[in-house]
């Protein structure tokens, strides 16, 4: 049985001038103990979807089931406080007038009557889980941002809810702390095995934490799949572009067979990853990841090799980010930190056929129609 089932969810609201559709026909099926991520740019509807699951927003239409029980539909509305959830907010939402203990104890005190000792031991367990037990007597306002976020996670888990909802919990932390919290979040989630819905705009977080990702755009789910699928097999220009920096080269399919796909582009012929859906003659885009492009000073032996000139060369520590002009097109590439080419150098850009993903141009251009398609297919 799925932990959360979202069916045809729509959420519209009226502003002064027009009606905005924040969530448009979203259908999702989230399994027990999954770490499910809603990924997308701001305004794509991911947070609204999460808030609908929490009951903090009421959908205009559609329904949500949690654990087999309808929590919202045309005829039913279970208010937030009756849903079996724990939620972590982007801005922590730690109550400043309560101590750390009181913050975490709140969900226990508010609901069923529990014995004082029972509450204390559960709070301690929850704080232990997030490595915060030594701060139990502090005032919440004396905590740093990272500690507040841990506290907020302990508060969400203390009721032992069926579902954990995370609304960009890492985005207010600084880079180092974010990385650390990322690993911890995953460890805790695996340890207690709780169905988790995670909202983020950060592709690294999404790819590293999730069991499954739904990429959203304009209120719709554009692609749904494992992190590997999302990254390696984007189904649209939008996904390829949003998840990782991608350069696109436009072209037309020359040959397509189960083991070869050749495109004619402005740069020359491209040997790409085979795709039976691409028929000869179809106009298409080649999506190239910076890290799959190898920059050399002599022509390489790869499937594709093009001569170009370095436009921009930025040393970023773990590597060198290049912008390379190939036949009038700017391609982004990531090179090794050891050997750096300078702007103006003549170089060769090499790419293996398997790293060159082809997207159909008509499909790639309109994520909108695609979103509907995916939603329907899913349904």
């Amino acid at each position: 049985m799925s932990a959360i089932r979202i069916d045809q969810l729509c959420h519209t609201y009226a502003t002064k001038n027009k009606t905005v559709t924040a969530v448009d026909q979203v259908s999702l099926d989230i399994g027990e103990n999954e770490f499910f991520t809603l990924l997308g740019p701001s305004g794509c509807g991911k947070t609204t979807t999460l808030r609908c699951i929490a009951g903090l927003e009421q959908p205009t239409s559609g329904s949500i089931e949690m654990d087999g029980v309808v929590v919202v539909s045309d005829s039913v509305l279970v208010p937030t406080h009756r849903r079996d959830i724990g939620m972590v907010f982007q801005d922590y939402a730690v109550w400043p007038h309560m101590s750390v203990f009181d913050n975490v104890a709140f969900p226990l005190r508010i609901g069923r009557k529990l014995r004082r000792a029972e509450i204390a031991s559960r709070v301690e367990q929850a704080l232990d889980l997030v490595n915060m037990s030594q701060y139990i007597d502090r005032r919440a306002t004396q905590l740093s941002g990272g500690q507040q976020q841990r506290l907020s996670l302990a508060r969400a888990l203390v009721r032992q809810p069926k579902v954990l909802l995370l609304d960009e919990p890492l985005s207010n932390l600084d880079a180092k702390l974010r990385e650390q919290m990322r690993s911890e979040l995953r460890l805790i989630q695996q340890r207690i095995g709780i169905t988790t819905v995670f909202v983020t705009h950060d592709q690294v977080e999404a790819l590293s934490l999730s069991t499954r990702i739904a990429v959203m755009s304009g209120g719709r789910v554009v692609q749904e799949g494992s992190p590997r699928e999302i990254y390696l097999e984007p189904n649209s220009r939008f996904v390829a572009d949003f998840v990782g920096a991608t350069s696109f080269v436009a072209g037309r399919a020359l040959r397509s067979s189960p083991d070869a796909l050749v495109l004619e582009t402005e740069l020359g012929t491209f040997n790409c990853r085979p795709d039976p859906e691409i028929l000869p003659g179809a106009s298409a885009l080649v999506a190239l990841r910076p890290e799959s492009l190898v920059v050399t000073d002599t022509p390489g032996e790869r499937d594709n090799c093009f001569a170009g000139e370095v436009e921009l060369s930025l040393f970023v520590g773990e590597g060198v980010d290049y912008r390379i002009n190939v036949g009038g097109q700017s391609l982004r590439a990531r090179g090794s930190a050891r050997a750096q080419f300078d702007a103006g150098d003549r170089v060769y850009v090499n790419a293996a056929a398997d790293d060159c993903v082809v997207l159909l141009a008509d499909r790639a251009d309109s994520a909108d129609t695609l979103g509907a398609e995916v939603a329907d297919a899913h349904h």
Partner: protein, 591 residues
Amino acid sequence: MTELRVDTRPAQPPTAPPAAVRRRRRLTVHGAINIITVLVLVYLVIGPILMLLLSSFEDTRAGVRIRPPFPWSSANFTGVLGDSQTYRVLGTTVVFAAAGLLFAFTVSLVFAWLVERTDLPARGLVYVLLVAPTGMPGLISAIAWGLLLNPTNGYVNVALHNVFGLHGSGPLNAYSLPAMIFVQGLALVPLTFLLITASMRNMSVSLEDAARTSGAGPWTILRKVSLPLLRPVLIGAGIYQFVTVIEAVDVPLVLGLPGHVTVFSTQVYRVTHPAFGLPDYGASSTYGILLLTLAVAPLLIYNRTVRRAQDFATVTGKAFRPRRQRLGRWRWVAFGASMLYAAVSFVLPLLVLIYASLEPYIGSISVSSLQHMTLAGYRKTLSTDLFVSSLGHTLVVGLTASFAAMLLSVLLSWIIVRSKSRFAWMADVLAFIPHAIPGVVIGLAVLLIYLLLPVPLYGTVWIIVVAMATQYISLGTRLTTGGIAQIQQGLEEAAQASGARASQVWRHVLLPLLRPVLLNGFLLVFLATIKNLTLPLMLQSSDNVVLSTLIWDRWDYGDVTGAAVLSVILTAVTVTAALVLRRLSGNGEQI
């Protein structure tokens, strides 16, 4: 180590739908409270306006009718608008208000600049002394100035006579328009000063530095940068104070009536409470409508300014302490001027009141008169039943009206800030309107309503409570709206997501976080209610005398000592309350 495990929980019965399942958009308790709040507000705010319109468009010679058939008539308007006295009153009101504001703003700007931007000595003391008169009710400072500048035996006039060997009345006359302007101007200074200093303090000095590094001189910076940045607060405070001036009856009553200087507020009072004959409610309502119009016009501009104030959002930026202008040898001149102003505006009136309360007769101050000083006035005044009951009434009115106003305010603010209701704008408008209705008009309208409605409030203290609550909802919501807006919505949502019902969210999260704001607002409204003369006077009967009406009654009757005794006591209470308030909130800028 024990782990938090979802799967270790006792097996739950197979999924039965939660008990809370209900139809979407069904009325929740919270929703019901919202609707009731808005309805109460509509009754409190719109009711009086409708009442006023009704009685001004009726032929009220046989009384006001609230049921059909309505005796529609335009006689009130033709009568009032055809009367040349109306235009004289209008002219006097405008001159009184404009000159009072000009005085107050000039003084406030100069002192605000001295305190915030110069190396004036003892800036803290000057600040406190300028703000201190907030505690002194307008009625009392008017009485004090009446004692000082009475043309025949005012202390200042007597002193001038003695020094310069003058005879006859004067040279200064408390019962004239210039004196009214002066006293009203003084009364306006504390709040104006507070608003301007707060705004100056928050103004990012880097904006002025940017102008300086662009090659602008001090004068250009003042004209092109500083004053334009202050414009929103100057316009906002100006219009707010304009309503304060035209709605109040205290100064015009004490200083205007003896010299036959009439403004709109006293005109409404006089027509509603004539010395002889029956009140003409039709005419007073018509005057009320005119006064309302006069108040609303600038408030519409105020509203637009407030909205536009976001354009000046940079003003709130936190920055370095501003560099202070060196005054050089003018330093001590400026300090002397500040002390002189404090002496004239606060210390002198206070001393005169204390002196008058200890003197059996009013006269010049001399060694012999000082020997006659006695506490007999206190004994006599404080032992009367009227004093005891008026003190009780004052407390009842103050406490209940403040409580009611803050309760309505916080509920209303929640609707304004948080609810996604389509009707949230209505709450916003309802909270704003009482600010635009001059107190004397609220008093008149509330009087009419309870004269006619079969609700036994007329003549009791509760009618004053209703009027006060109505009047101070604007003040209350301004504080509570700010307070709620400062609480991240996530704090409420986190409580909901933790399983808290709406009532639990209020009890455990919102109210504790709002406590400072609510306490501050409660005290602020409490202070305002006990200082208020206008509403109790408009609604007075023999059974609901409060301290402020008692003071006016004693003064009007000619019992100067009694009025002074009561004034000293009331001032002691209000100044203390003001000090507590400042200590609690750390600032009085929200007034």
